[in-house]
Symmetry: none
Subunit: 231 residues, 2 copies
DNA sequence: TCCGCCTGCATAAAAACTGCATAAAACTCC
DNA sequence: GGAGTTTTATGCAGTTTTTATGCAGGCGGA
């Protein structure tokens, strides 16, 4: 589960450099160009960390941080062109987690972001992990990677588990073969259609053995859909 | 309860300046002048944070940090006379939480220390020391570093103990190999996958000798999970 | 009804993963 | 400084999982 970073800088060029560096380090990024958009994005996307340029027009980074702290505990890394001691102290005491001055090294920025994330309290990721999926008499526990139908435990391989989780996440939603696999994996890996069928078949067989015969329905020409699962 | 800071710098004058600044901010400080003393003090006093000079004779700060991470998750703030990007990155990736170059402003140092402390989680030791873990017929007493199955005492090495504690801390939770080690040590340490297997194997063998054959289950492609332990 | 396209399934190859033995490196305790 | 212990690394065999493929049969539109 990649970390989600919000990058707020009014210079789109710098924003791009930062995003590129962070994404190369395996994070997901969203860029905004002003303070108001930053606040809005923080509320809507609940990022794991915010890279915040101090020198933005309209609402500067310090002000964003001040307002931010009313609604969120998200870590903030300040970015600033000013390298005055007093600014740094102000930023840190304002609730920032680090303060990097421009011009900065992308690699160092990434290192500092990683340090903060390492210490940061577990947020969404852990919550999502503890979430429990269930549909009808079928239940999935991502945290323990365990599944059961009607109390009977199911032994699923990891890809079977992931595929089923993809369906449980969107009940009553038809998923094409590509989507089935996209849910299972993160990236867009392409596998042969027949391969997907094989996984579906195996899942059906295991569920049927546990007494569930209506778990995955076929939608001819489109894909598959989660059934009633004995519900 | 004031925070406890360990200051390691070979220049007693600088050490004094730092301690003075931190104490003025309401913290308790202990100063040491070399790496070996730092490690010893960390183990004995379990400080909340370590200010670590990189340029110390004998054992430099980076080396101290490396060894340190084997026994503790305590936050580290590096202090260095060298202001090279590569040094900063190295320090941060080595497990440091911040990197300040000399000459530094005492007030900024205090601000940075405060930021780290604000984010730092209660150390693993604090969380676990007074607690007693048990699962099924398996019991661990972190305080006395003792373990037993069904009353029979188990002789575990410290890493075996730590790994098992990691599992006991979150029963029914699959832990990937990286997580297994992250629980045992501080985060951010990478060991080879096969190494983790070796530890798991040894733990299983010792538990099996005591009559517990279902302690750690393998979840293929994902990691390991605590079993029923005879419960 | 016929035909083209789609799905289910068996089989098997390819890839990935685990467990283990062995050994090197690091550490501890005299 | 050295012997014993602990921790880490590595290579390999055996196993499981994942993917691919070919074909029989089903579905649906013309």
């Amino acid at each position: 589960m990649p970390h989600n970073i919000l990058v707020a800088d009014d210079d789109p060029h710098i924003g791009e450099i930062i995003c590129f560096a962070l994404e190369k380090a395996g994070m997901k990024t969203v860029a905004v160009a002003d303070g108001a958009a930053a606040l809005q994005a923080i509320e809507r996307r609940a990022p794991d960390l915010v890279v915040l340029d101090i020198g933005m027009p309209e609402m500067d980074g310090l002000e964003v941080c001040r307002r931010l702290r009313h609604i969120s505990d998200v870590p903030v890394l300040f970015l600033s062109a000013r390298d005055e001691e007093i600014d740094r102290i102000l930023g840190l005491e304002m609730g920032g987690d680090d303060y990097v001055t421009k011009p900065f090294s992308p690699r160092e920025l990434v290192a500092r972001v990683n340090v903060i994330l390492r210490r940061a309290r577990p947020t969404k990721a852990e919550q999502a992990d503890n979430r429990q999926f269930s549909h009808g008499r079928l239940a999935l526990l991502p945290a323990s990677h365990a599944a059961s139908f009607d109390g009977r435990p199911l032994v699923l391989t990891s890809i079977e588990f992931a595929i089923l989780k993809g369906f449980l996440a969107r009940p009553a939603h038809v998923l094409g073969r590509d989507m089935v696999m996209a849910n299972a994996y993160a990236a867009n890996i392409h596998v042969a259609d027949r391969t997907v069928d094989s996984h579906i078949r195996n899942i059906r067989a295991k569920l049927a053995a546990a007494g569930c015969t209506d778990a995955i329905e076929t939608v001819h020409g489109v894909g598959f859909r989660l059934g009633r699962c004995g519900g």
